[in-house]
Homo-oligomer: 360 residues x 2
């Protein structure tokens, strides 16, 4: 079965097509903004999910205080589109990056994250190029085990190092607590705060992160802002985490069934180059087919999605166009130059993914 | 430890950077061409790996007979660059695709694959637009369980259907045998060949596929051509399959160590948006770090590669630039707009990945 909208998408654009419902996008933006407002923290959405200045402007218009980027290239695209107050939540290293960061800081309010002295030693270059201080927040790891210092003592030492360095200014702390680790983050923050205050420093940014953390927004006493990203589109992981419903999933991949070589098998024209092999933290299969939820996207070739139909009573036919909610929406958007915008059953137009491919 | 070339790449382009060694590219092209020549089959390389007209021209100049594409969008880019004789090895469905396929057929020699009557019923549209017959090969599955008819009887029936349809012409059979399934493919082909000959048809294309199948090239009696793709760059999967050495791996991702938050952990600036979560058919970790082969790229965030360093005697420092052979090179290239070309220790320039993002 092909919905009327799916037939229109296939006719006008072909498949696979990445489609976003702007009614749902706007609803997601409004809901998370309201939750941040209610919690008394500023919303600084992470644009790594959508990579679109137009959508960033919608987030700012709804009340977001600036944005978060993961790469300088993303920040350059956003600043060129007039978005100010950008946090690059990443350790940036090297002369090439410092030159670009300095140029960016000359045009927009920019803060970066750092978790070690090597990174901090390079950052003054950017401040010198811009002729004004670059703000730096210290990334603190409270259980996620990616970047971030592991102890308040290290955070305090780095804060002092930043304060003693020309061209950069200590701005505060950046956290990305695990969903059940907010008490741990609180203890870390309280100790780090006491330490920097003893050194005569005061944080103005205390940032928490994550769409799956939306139920926890505001729980860190002293937090000033939150950095949710995926909520603008949502995906199978967000539904699994209990922070979104299927109706909140604003992005769907439309794909045609191109083969039914055997009774229990089918082939979609969306493979790992469209949906990615992201396992979504252990979900079954590589996406949910809304039209055939019992079907399993069992494995991939690059341009083939191999369907296991053994559990399906009603099975898709060759030529059917189906709608898929991906496991992880951010990595899907990262591969496409544009998405098709719809509202309900109507096609609205094309949205370029302007910061796509900005891997540095 | 950072090699002098890695330092230059980081200085001139920043990291992560996708780097190809043109000496290795040319050597890989020559070796596989020679193997096809020796086996007496034409080489029709699959451009899904590199997505670059410049590299396709190198393959043709070395002796390749045409190319293989997986998507019309890829074929459009290649035809615009003057590449003729294109096999699109995929079931194409829908009016939008038929209009583009017809336009393409007006400019270049094009053959497509089909494995079912629904696909075949649509193809005459393209022939009618072009004013000449579209060649069609029947995709046959002999064990891989993706697209392809499962029995010679079905293949024979489809051949007759194609022959009876206006605007399209039966051209032959397309196989992608499993590496240990060439005897199965031979039996399938012999029976299908006898069947179509009994119907007065003669195949002119009998195509086999796959870089991991290079040791088997020519083993299918009656094969006219082979479609290897990954061999131009190679990757960890090809090395694991025994068809390439590390020195044959022409593409490497250069990445900076941006954090060493704990003694046993490190963070690369290459995450799932650079290396992808492709497990490479069950390899340990998500790429081999040539400079630290005992390190494991254990898991990803989108822009973080999380290193497990427990097995390393010598551990990378923050700021080190390392070289990574990805698990699966094709999906890495699919995310980048350009690659950096080098020869040995010298940077040659930038190569656009012109057919990147052509998902339809």
């Amino acid at each position: 079965m092909t919905t009327p909208l799916a037939a229109k998408i296939a006719r006008d654009y072909g498949t696979p097509a990445v489609v976003i419902d702007m009614d749902r996008v706007e609803r997601n933006i409004a809901r998370v903004q309201a939750a941040c407002d209610a919690a008394g923290v500023r919303n600084r959405p992470h644009i790594k999910t959508h990579k679109s200045p137009e959508l960033a402007r919608l987030q700012v218009a709804a009340g977001a205080k600036g944005i978060t980027c993961q790469k300088i290239g993303e920040a350059e695209v956003m600043a060129a589109a007039g978005i100010d107050d950008i946090l690059i939540s990443y350790n940036l290293i090297g002369d090439e990056k410092m030159a670009r960061l300095g140029a960016l800081l000359g045009k927009a309010e920019v803060t970066v994250a750092a978790d070690n002295p090597v990174v901090i030693a390079g950052l003054p270059q950017a401040g010198a190029i811009a002729g004004r201080d670059l703000g730096v927040v210290i990334e603190c790891d409270t259980g996620r085990k990616r970047a971030g210092v592991e102890t308040p003592g290290e955070a305090i030492e780095l804060a002092k190092l930043i304060a003693a360095s020309p061209g950069i200014a200590f701005k505060g702390f950046m956290f990305y607590p695990t969903e059940d680790g907010w008490a741990v983050a609180q203890r870390f923050f309280d100790e780090a705060l006491a330490g920097v205050r003893a050194a005569g420093l005061e944080p103005t940014i205390v940032s928490t992160g994550g769409s799956p953390n939306m139920p926890n927004v505001g729980k860190l006493k002293g937090a000033t802002e939150h950095r949710p990203g995926t909520y603008i589109y949502n995906d199978r992981m967000q539904v699994a985490a209990g922070v979104a419903t299927w109706d909140d999933c604003a992005l769907q991949v439309y794909s045609t069934v191109v083969s039914r070589a055997a009774a229990d098998r089918g082939i979609l024209d969306a493979g790992s180059k469209t949906l990615t092999a992201d396992p979504g933290g252990g979900l079954e299969g590589f996406g949910l087919i809304l039209d055939h939820p019992e079907a399993k996207i069992a494995r991939f070739a690059e341009e083939h999605g191999m369907l296991d139909l053994t559990r399906c009573n009603e099975r898709p036919k060759v030529g059917d166009v189906v709608r898929i909610v991906p496991n992880h929406v951010c990595v899907v958007v990262n591969m496409v130059d544009e998405v098709v915008m719809v509202r309900g059953d109507e096609i609205v137009g094309i949205l370029p993914v302007a910061a796509r491919g900005k891997l540095r």
